[in-house]
């Protein structure tokens, strides 16, 4: 089994990092006016985080703890986090942040990707959606596992129970990441881990980098929990609409199964996460409440940016991908 291949650079910083990953010599670029949400920073951060997950083909495994790379990661993380703290208004109330997500619109929501896909999504758009989401779903729940040693008591017991479910409750073929790979097979996409990194624009990378950032830093455990709660709370209605879109376009049984399972599973997960993970954490560490709220709002902020890009391009019947899919992939003629 070979690891994912390194992608092409998207600017000075990612170019310098890529050459360091190949031959170990880090040329430190001046990350002066680097856009915190831009392709160069987000790709570089993504590559650095990926060393903690599955790594890359031809990249030495022990670079994960290379002090030079960690220093670069810290610089990029600080820039990303500072931008998020500036763009996400401060909220003190975690319960209120989550309560706002528990309300469903009466009619169609023009700003929601899942509403769009349910009503008018075509197979090529569902494929692009799967391509972009594959960066997370093929490592689904992995970034959240890092928070486990940072939790105690009720929050820990509940977090582990939900993660156990995400990881297939003891059965490899029910690991959610595996179920997503099966969905990709139904859509004639390549289900190999990290295969579509090249296609993912900065908006998509940022949503995954956020989880890795929160997961890898104990100091951000409150934000990680807020992020996880947001994912679980918003998932059931979104998943129902995505399952309907896949059913309508005849995508296939495995494609529907991933989202059908997430309607039922996340209706349970959201209860357990709100009650016991968030509730348990804040009972033992009440000072983390603003961080939990920050995690909720930062997740919504980056999801909205990705949603804007998808809807803006799709409504003009353009691809939302950064570069087209390789020939023969995802181009089943209909």
């Amino acid at each position: 089994m070979t690891g994912p291949r390194l992608p092409t650079a998207r600017g000075e910083v990612s170019a310098g990092l890529l050459s360091a990953l190949r031959d170990g010599e880090l040329r430190r670029p001046p990350p002066g006016a680097l856009d915190p949400y831009g392709d160069d920073l987000q790709l570089a951060l993504y590559l650095l985080y990926e060393l903690h997950y599955q790594g890359f083909e031809g990249v030495a495994e022990d670079l994960e703890w290379d002090p030079g790379l960690l220093a670069l990661r810290r610089t990029l993380e600080r820039r990303f986090l500072a931008a998020l703290r500036a763009d996400v208004p401060p909220h003190a109330d975690a319960g209120q942040a989550l309560a706002a997500l528990l309300v469903e619109p009466v009619g169609p929501d023009d700003t929601s990707v899942s509403h769009y896909l349910r009503r008018e999504g075509e197979l090529w758009q569902l494929r692009e959606y799967a391509v972009l989401r594959s960066l997370y779903h093929l490592k689904e729940a992995d970034p959240h596992a890092w928070v486990i040693p940072r939790l105690r008591g009720r929050a820990k017991a509940a977090m582990v129970a939900v993660e156990f479910d995400e990881f297939g409750a003891g059965r490899a073929d029910e690991i959610h990441a595996r179920m997503f790979a099966d969905l990709m097979g139904d859509l004639d996409l390549e289900p190999a881990y990290g295969h579509y990194l090249e296609q993912a624009p900065a908006e998509a990378l940022a949503t995954v980098n956020l989880m890795s950032l929160f997961g890898l830093h104990r100091a951000l455990r409150g934000a990680l929990v807020g992020h996880f709660a947001t994912v679980e709370v918003t998932s059931p209605p979104d998943s129902r609409r995505l399952a309907a879109a896949l059913r309508r376009t005849g995508a296939g049984a495995a494609a529907q199964r991933f989202y059908d399972e997430h309607v039922a599973a996340d209706a349970v997960h959201e209860q357990v996460v709100r009650r016991d993970v968030v509730g348990g954490l804040l009972a033992s560490e009440p000072h983390l409440e603003a961080d939990v709220a920050f995690g909720v709002h930062a997740t919504g902020f980056l999801e909205d940016r990705l949603g804007d890009r998808l809807l803006r391009t799709w409504r003009r019947r353009r691809s939302a991908l950064r570069v087209p899919l390789p020939d023969g992939e995802g181009r089943r003629t209909s």
Binding site: V103, E104, A267
Partner: protein
Amino acid sequence: MANSPERPRRVTIDPDGPMLVEGPVEVVCADGTVATSRRFTAAICTCRRSRIYPWCDTSHRRRTDRDQGAT
């Protein structure tokens, strides 16, 4: 053990949401059909609006016009 007299199965009641029951659990529906969940906890619909009854699908959630704006 998951369901012994020393460790009885826990059922959690929430007036605004589903009933949470430690799994695995079988639900015998009014028409005699049996639904089974192996999940560590099952959320059983109490609002009767679920499309995957007897399991919760979050259909109990409050609905608002976007302009009324839930904040």
